[in-house]
């Protein structure tokens, strides 16, 4: 990116336009400043404009921490470009800081020489001291290394709203649209999508709609007319496959996938859940879509959510529960019941930073071994993980395909980064969607609930069917008949069968693909939301001539049949994870390869350059 020298208002007006292949903008302010809204609007606008986009919101656990404090800072980062993007961007090229706390919390991520737009009205003595500044950074030359633009957003917003009839604090709430308008001018974005949105959103409150529209335009015109800015940027549309697109977050994509699976099977969708960050948006989304025969149950606790899901599966619904790590811990006994009764269901864990309550709004991948092994007894389930926000759609359908095909609970792992991150999603053709055929046995003589087929799968017999009355439960069952059985040989037999049935899933999933050469010096292998950073880092290193390839696991138990083969074709294996080495541990144990980890547990995703640097280090470059 070309950086101009520091500007001041006295310079003559001369706007230069610089073309960028990609750029990253972050909005930061108080949690009540509407930064998430500004960021989402710019995301949609950029996507409609034709850029590839990838986003990451970053908000505090407290809904409204004391105004102006570091604890209350909320941010939204948007990466947009004229080519394929897979992450929300490593370094921030332009930062909008609505107050001193937002500046303090985010400045270290801004690249040297980057664009820094501040709302100077908020740099009062009190706000400076709340943010921990002893001196005003706008005045003491500490920001000389950036392109600083001081904009009195409070005053200019009040000015824009003065004839709208909006008064008091409501005026202050429009400030985010001023900032957005200014950034739209700076990056040459069209106003129309946001104007449409405002009209739809505030249609019943014309005064609010009018004020927001005027403020947005005032911000845009401020950029155009003031002599503050002498450079603006353009980011050309990306070349993406043709089709109809929309923006989805991981939680939205996952919920849409669940509905799609149930609809394709002609089944009601049951979703039992207890509110928990960052999974609650799945519950909210599903509760708004009851017209798809979605039956949401906000349970009294995580255990009730899990056991009600088991009950719904027993009675024939497509049953799902969703939670995050702490909830997963509470559900674990009941997941064992689902394993024993061999009923199909999906358990979504939108992981967050643990242990215990941990960092509720921050991302992490540290529940992998919990998902695979975190229950009493020999207790196998199928474990899947989505790789990108849009991939959550495909993996939700895949989870159900496996659950009903193998009569097993399936754990689907996402994380806070996928859940809240967003990207464009090419809307699939109806014809391309898998049809999920469910077979329930009809009335037969001599029905046996644990009589298995050649894949070791038992029948899904539904209450309401005459002649199939049977009992299931958490006590060990006798093979075939299902009656309670304490015999030692039967227990070992059933434990082995339950494991083998999960292993059999490997026959029904596609092989692991390699990005890059089939063999070489280094394989970088990951799972879940690290896909974007790993794939982009490996691509960059390959362009530099390094012998490195990548592979990404969506199936964690069982793993694909060719995983061992893939691992052994490389001299070294690097496993980047947002934990202390859980996949690496599994790969080493399962395949006896010298896989070594690269770890980050800061509640934040990897940047591309972090992985790029680690690859170079491993290859002694």
């Amino acid at each position: 990116m070309v950086v101009s020298t520091r500007l001041n208002g006295a310079q003559p007006r001369c706007v230069e336009v610089i073309s960028l292949g990609e750029t990253t903008v972050r909005f930061a302010g108080d949690s009540g400043d509407g930064m998430q809204l500004a960021g989402t609007q710019m995301t949609t606008t950029s996507a409609i404009f034709g850029n590839d986009v990838s986003t990451l919101p970053d908000f505090p656990a407290e809904i409204r921490a004391p105004a102006g404090t570091l604890a209350g800072v909320s941010g939204f980062q948007l990466h947009f470009g004229s080519h394929r993007l897979r992450t929300p961007g490593d370094r921030v090229n332009a930062l909008v800081a609505m107050n001193p706390a937002a500046l303090s919390a985010n400045l270290s991520d801004l690249e040297p020489g980057g664009v820094l737009i501040v709302n100077e009205d908020a740099f009062t003595k009190m706000d400076l001291s709340r943010a921990g500044y002893s001196a005003d950074p706008l005045e003491n030359r500490s920001l000389d290394g950036y392109q600083l633009f001081r904009v009195p957003m409070g005053k200019l917003t009040a000015e824009a709203c003065k004839d709208t009839g909006l008064t008091g604090r409501a005026v202050g709430r429009c400030k985010n649209f001023f900032a957005l308008g200014l950034v739209y001018w700076l990056y040459d974005r069209p106003l129309a999508p946001t104007l449409r949105w405002i009209e739809q959103k505030f249609g019943s409150k014309p005064v609010v709609a009018d004020a927001n529209i005027k403020t947005l335009k005032a911000g845009y015109h401020f950029g155009e007319t003031t002599e503050l800015f002498t450079v603006r940027y353009e980011v050309a549309p990306a070349k993406v496959p043709p089709g109809k697109y929309r923006r989805v977050s991981g939680n939205e994509a996952l919920a849409i996938g669940l509905i799609t699976a149930a609809q394709r099977a002609g089944k009601p969708l049951f979703y039992g859940s207890y509110p928990i960050t960052p999974a609650s948006d799945i519950l909210h989304f599903l509760a708004k879509h009851k017209n798809f025969d979605v039956r949401t149950f906000q349970a009294e606790d995580e255990i009730a959510a899990m056991t009600a899901t088991i009950g719904a599966a027993f009675a024939g619904a497509f049953a799902v529960t969703g939670t995050s790590g702490p909830g997963m811990a509470l559900k674990s006994e009941a997941i064992g019941l689902a394993v024993m009764t061999e009923l199909p269901m999906v358990i979504v864990n939108v992981q967050r930073a643990g242990p215990s309550t941990g960092l509720p709004t921050k991302t992490e991948q540290a529940d992998l071994l919990q998902a695979i092994w975190g229950r009493n007894g020999e207790n196998p389930v199928c474990v899947l993980a989505a790789a990108t926000p849009a991939d959550c759609f495909d993996m939700a359908i895949e989870a159900f395909r496996i659950a009903i095909g193998f009569m097993t609970p399936v754990v689907l792992l996402a994380d806070g980064y996928l859940a809240n991150g967003a990207e464009p999603w090419r809307i699939p053709d109806m014809d391309s969607l898998p049809r999920l055929d469910v077979k329930h046995p009809g009335p037969v003589e001599g029905f046996k609930p644990y009589q298995r087929n050649d894949k070791l799968v038992r029948p899904w017999a539904l209450p309401g069917t005459p002649g199939l009355e049977h009992r299931v439960g958490g006590l060990e069952s006798r093979d075939i008949t299902g009656e309670v059985c304490y015999e030692p040989e039967n227990h070992e037999h059933m434990c082995r069968i339950r494991r083998r049935k999960i292993d059999n899933i490997a026959e029904a999933i596609p092989p692991l693909e390699i990005n890059g050469d089939d063999s070489g010096e280094l394989l970088v292998i990951g799972w879940g939301s690290t896909y974007g950073a790993i794939t982009s880092a490996v691509e960059r290193c390959r362009k530099k001539g390094m012998s490195v390839s990548s592979a990404h696991l969506r199936y964690l138990d069982p793993m694909q049949k060719n995983v061992g083969d893939v691992l052994r074709r490389f001299c070294r294996v690097l496993v980047p994870e947002l934990n202390l080495g859980q996949l690496a541990y599994r790969l080493r144990a399962e395949y006896l390869v010298d896989a070594t980890g690269f770890h980050k547990i800061q509640g934040k995703p990897f940047t591309i350059s972090e992985i790029e640097a680690e690859i170079a280090k491993r290859l002694n470059k």
Binding site: R247, T260, T307, L337, P466
Partner: protein
């Protein structure tokens, strides 16, 4: 058909609800009697095996589903009610019974009991209260009296007990009743009432654990004492009890008191039972009448109408579907879309 023939038929059809498993409760356990009455009631209400599901948690009582020839689900400790709600939401037309105990239902599963009752799904909840942990061999339970000496309370329990019906009424259960394992006629009556109630029916059944807490309810079952220690509730009738039906319950302000009939006190002065009273205070007051201070009420304490959970769930689905039938194309296109050529 003669009365005897009818009885034979009922017993035959009760067998229709047996499973192929032999009950494995201790000989003399009160559970046998309850199982027999439940099967008779299923026959009497002409339940269909395929449309009936028995759900349980963990404990002696929770083995119940294995011994009924309907669909059954033996869950994990305390969670039967949540499993039952899931079944009911997935298939509202099923008849769902939950069998639980004082430990399963009030200790580990206490939370689910409160929340299931307040939601009012059409489920029959049978809580076998023996005031002890039987399956784990004799620890005190949440209904064991203060001072109770058990394996885990050798110097006597220092926990004050919960009273199941007071808890259920506190959560505003729409049907609340009590009976005793050995009073088979009354038990069958109460079970049938519970089955026919639309909404969550909560039935506490005094059940004798002859191994770990024998004779816990002897006061209420022994021929010599039961007329003085229990009082049978009848809707619209005064609360009269005693071997000679010469005692009653009168209200002194907000407090019940025992009075003798005669000497200027007639039945008209007594408290009249009204199971249909929306306001739960009367039912709660009755649930507070406890041995040895009062005769303990048996029968239906409360039976009121309220919308049923699964009906409300399905009403919303039907309404949403009527307003806008669910089409995946519409779902995918929600929000802003754009075309890339």
């Amino acid at each position: 058909m003669s009365a005897d023939a009818a009885k034979v038929k009922l017993e035959l059809t009760a067998k229709h609800f047996a499973s192929d498993q032999d009950p494995r409760w201790c000989p003399g356990c009160g559970d046998y009697s309850i199982l027999a009455q439940v099967k008779k009631v299923l026959a009497k209400i002409e339940a269909k095996r395929e449309n009936t599901v028995f759900v349980s948690g963990i404990g002696c009582s929770s083995r119940f589903p294995y011994y009924v020839g309907t669909y059954g689900f033996h869950g994990i400790h305390g969670r039967a009610l949540a499993i039952a709600v899931g079944i009911k939401v997935a298939q509202p037309e099923l008849s769902v019974w939950v069998v639980t105990g004082d430990g399963d239902g009030l200790s580990i599963g206490g939370n689910h009991l409160l929340h299931t009752i307040r939601r009012n799904p059409d489920i029959n909840i049978l809580l076998f209260n023996n005031r002890i942990y039987g399956l784990t061999k004799g620890q005190y339970s949440p209904t064991s009296p203060l001072g109770k000496k058990t394996k885990s309370t050798p110097m006597g329990s220092v926990d004050f007990p919960l009273h199941p019906l007071s808890v259920a009424i506190g959560a505003e259960a729409t049907f609340v009743a009590r009976s005793i394992d050995v009073n088979v006629k009354h038990l069958a009556y109460v079970l049938e009432r519970a089955a026919r109630h639309k909404g969550a029916s909560f039935v506490e059944i005094y059940q004798n654990c002859n191994i770990f807490n024998d004779l816990a309810f002897e006061y209420a079952t022994a021929k010599t004492t039961k007329d003085e220690t229990t009082i049978y509730l009848e809707h619209g009738r005064p609360l009269v009890f005693g071997k000679d039906r010469n005692k009653g319950i009168r209200l002194d302000g907000m407090d019940p008191e025992i009075v003798e009939l005669g000497d200027g006190i007639t039945e008209d002065d007594l408290l009249f039972h009204n199971e249909k009273q929306e306001e739960p205070s009367l039912a709660y007051l009755l649930s507070r009448m406890r041995h040895p201070d009062f005769p303990e009420p048996m029968g239906v304490f409360r039976c009121v109408e309220r919308p049923v959970y699964e009906d409300l769930v399905m009403d919303q689905i039907n309404e949403a579907s009527r307003q806008q039938p669910g089409r995946l194309e519409d779902l995918f296109d929600e929000g802003e879309t754009w075309i890339v050529e």
